[in-house]
Amino acid sequence: MPNESTVLIYGTNLGGYRAAYALGKRGHKFILLNRGSYVDEEKYQALAQLPLDFCWICGHMPQRAFKASGAMQDCYNAQLLAVSGEAGHFHVKFKKRDKPVNNFACTECDQCIEVCPVEVGEGKAIRVVPEAGWENCYVIDFEHCTRCGACEEVCPTGALKVERPEEVVEADVGAILLADAFEEPSDDDLRDFGLGQGPSVIRNSEVARRSLLTNFVRDSVRLPSGRMPQTFAVIVTPHFNRPGVEYENYNLSVSAIYRAIRLKEILPEAEVTVFLHDYRGTGKGHHQWYMKALDAGVRVERAETLSVVPDETVEEAAIHYTSLEGESRTQSVELAILVTGQSPPSQMEELSRLTGVQADENGFCRLRPFSCCETDVDGVFAVGELTGPKGNPETVWDGCAALTEMQRYLGEKNVAPGAAPSLRDVAGEPTRVGVFICSCFGQFDDRMDLPGLVERARALPGVSHAEIIEGCCTGPTIQATAERIKESGVNRVVLATCTPLQKKGKYDKAVMTAGLSPLLCEYLRFREDVIQVHTDPEGMLMKSLALIRGAVEKVKRGRHVSPLVDTFDGRALVVGGGLAGLTAATEIAANGFPVVLVERENELGGQTKYLDEEQREYVKGLISSVNASDNIACYTQAKLGQVEGYAGNYHAVIETPTTPVSVDAGVIFVATGAQESLPQGFLYGEDPAVMTQAELAERMKGGETADHVAMIQCVGSRTPEVPYCSRLCCNQALEHAILLREQGAEVTVFYRDIASYGKTNYYRLAKEAGVSFIRFPGDDVETGYPEVRRNGAGLEVVSEGESHPADWVVLSTGIVPDAENNEALSELLGYPLDYEGFFSSDISNYPYEEAIKKLTKPFELGSNGIFPVGLAHSPRSFEETILTAKDAVGRALVVIGKNKMPPPNKMFVAAVHESLCMGCGVCVDVCPYGARVIDEIERVVKIRPFLCDSCGSCVAICPNNASYLQDFKGEQSVAALDALLV
């Protein structure tokens, strides 16, 4: 019996949503069980820890398209009841209760809120939770709702039912993904920080939530009295909380720093102090943010212990702390912002009972060694914060990695997109514009003179038809509107409706059902721009007419164009045969796609000298599966000679010791690795007792030990030349320190910040084992580092004038990019490096941009089919290297195997008037997606369809007006502008 193809996703964390998106795109059905009563009722890591003013976690999902194709079934108030069967053939039973308001029928007219007789605070018992991208959610406060039914009666579409029955549903699924959401610590967990005991202590997530819909930070930090605080403390609470109460991921200290920077931007005069024990920004760009905060005048205070005592009456809080030197201090602030960690997942016990997954010693879901998401049970996967305190990038990567790992349990794809309606080419027909004005089920009739507007619209030049429609956002009204468009015989449409950002898909559907291309249609927002802005009918009429005039002028000049289609090669090229490259190659090949693997050394495996036994065995296993696979062609002592083309259509030449081989591929994985940084100074190379951590590991393996060992952290990391944290050195040093302690050695660690992260708290273990820690003044890299000197037969480490004798000095050296190789490859591939010298990813103005962008803009081909993985991407541990590779494979699996692909926005692509194009190439430079290329023979620009996301940069830059978007041409938009202003 073939395996089931559907996936059950329990919970809605970032990784769960990411996996859902990838599954839907790849063509698998999924059932999304949400414990909450609406899409983001359950707390999100993004909101709890990111001082961003948005969270688009749900908005990135094309929910309407997914639902229409049957890919997505989302269930609210859901609870998993039973799981039986085995991997590939699970039978699950769950209960759910639908939301009171059915989004698909709701027009968001707000009448239910108007009639609701129950006042709750400033609102009513039914209220709207505006969601970016997802439909606005209407939620009922059942605690206060009197079940009077007034809202049900007034709802024009019958979308609202106050009481919905609880249903029990059974389903057969191939795999189960556990993605339970982030849980914030309770007020009681944070009692040492004075939360809830006074007005001047607040959670960071609360600030984020407040700023979500206000004028950002300014109002979100205002004190209850209305006063704007001038002294702030931003406290990373897990650094000071009781053990086991909350867990920290490395985001937190970055969040604190980022919040501080934002505060300084908004209130430059304010005094902002960040309290933490160590700055643990180990990700891309995090060190730069730290330096930026110092430049902005943020004070960073490192403390050993800390508690907050808020004043109950005055808006002030006293922060009592002991410095690292053991000195007790107190600082008074007006507002203390708590950057909190994560509680262990509350659902773990229940999930364990239902599915058999096991918890680890901290209460998180246990995973198999060297896997990204596989639990102890075959076919059951866990992602994100359920599996441990993870940073945002890892949580997001988990999603696509889960897709990669679960492939082997899933059957054939079971979602096929429906056939697109056939569209009529209107070229040659006389222009007949139809204006369709939505009355929102009669609601707008009361507000403005719709029949009068129809009369005036009909009189506009070019308009042959105008009428009032009931709506265009519910199934029946979409159908009715399509009929009306068809019957009226128009070939251009102006739809005066509302909220196009959310409902554009519905309007497109209506127009396309009527056989017209959406390029021949324009949508107006009457609710946003007319009904809710104007108060007098005359003003409404004039504004409506102006908007209609502009739209009519635009659509008059619209043309029908068939969507472009291009081919996508289902083969992959992997550059680099280390852990990341081997993982990518085996996973792609396991899914039936041919892979070419290029390795510059004699043999596969990469830099195994830094690995332990188990890890070496794992790499050996990968090498044998690469060698055994029929789908993988492997070239050693080879390198990439030439690469041409673009995503889906790469042509490469590989230089091998014998003859050059030419290879075609759709995607390229860059897995070229990095190098260990070699220390300079510290008597390294001059005295055999000074060594690196890797050399120490070798010596320890040989049974050597010493009485006094000194370790110096951050050697060649977080300096002006190497402006990042190498991520691995702290954990590695701590592990070694603990081992040395066990053998009886005295170990002293000289550090700037201990950036240990992950499930095992090596820092605490090392402290418990009796390792001593001495901080050197780290922010001044010129003078801060300790000095290593010879002292008689031994060595001494001198830090801040104090001498510490040592038999061995171990330098924790970082990871540096292979600059020469990376630059050459970057040039060859046309793929940028970041300022750290690794292959770029979407980092920019927010410290978590990489993760968030991959969620909010999941444009798989945004990187032109090139995926940097492993150490070529950034310093990563062994497990994280596997994770980056599996994430990239998951993203690639979404696109490879689709032999033909349309542009992401179908007909809305850029195009070129070839007669006007002079081949100057400025648009090629400006295109963020590499979607344009100069045809060397014709000297004009050509478009690569599926790389074009129709941003329009080329339109604005073109000196000849040759470049245009299919729905944004100069002759259209200028005419529309003029008409708006008549």
Binding site: D529, N845, V926, F968
Partner: protein
């Protein structure tokens, strides 16, 4: 004086399809009003807005043009908002030559969720242009 008080400027508000229109939709969901005399116009990305489109309304009788795109780093297309910012700077330098005050054009960042900021931006700009007075091109006979 009385004439000045009655001056209601004509303002074109270009918003990008992502954060710009999103801001307006969030504002509407919260029943926040922007000034009636502001005429909205949607472009796909502020980076797609040619300089001509910014100058054209000013020649055609608008008193001011305000453009709002996504916050830095938040552009749907990565850096369209930065391109727009650069282009607006260029346009401002041209306005002087045309006999117009550069401050008749504003470029602002408004995020999708910032309904309040969207409305505030429109209102602030409206006040600003009202203080600045009508577009001088409207009363010039030589153009």
């Amino acid at each position: 004086m009385s004439e000045e008080r009655e001056f209601v400027p004509k303002i074109v508000y270009f918003m990008c399809s992502w954060c710009g229109t999103g801001g307006a939709e969030t504002a509407a969901a919260h029943h926040l009003r922007y000034p009636e005399n502001v005429i909205p116009s949607r472009v796909n990305c502020t980076g797609a807005l040619p300089a001509v489109h910014v100058i054209r309304p000013l020649i055609e009788g608008a008193d001011g043009v305000v453009i709002s795109g996504c916050h830095p780093g938040d552009c749907h297309y990565d850096d369209g908002n930065f391109r727009a910012r650069r282009r607006v700077a260029l346009v401002k330098s041209l306005l002087d030559t045309l006999g117009l005050e550069p401050e008749r054009v504003w470029f602002r960042y408004v995020a999708h969720g910032e309904g309040r900021r969207f409305v505030d931006t429109a209102a602030e700009f409206n006040d600003h242009i009202t203080r600045l007075g009508p577009n001088p091109l409207k009363t010039r006979s030589d153009t």
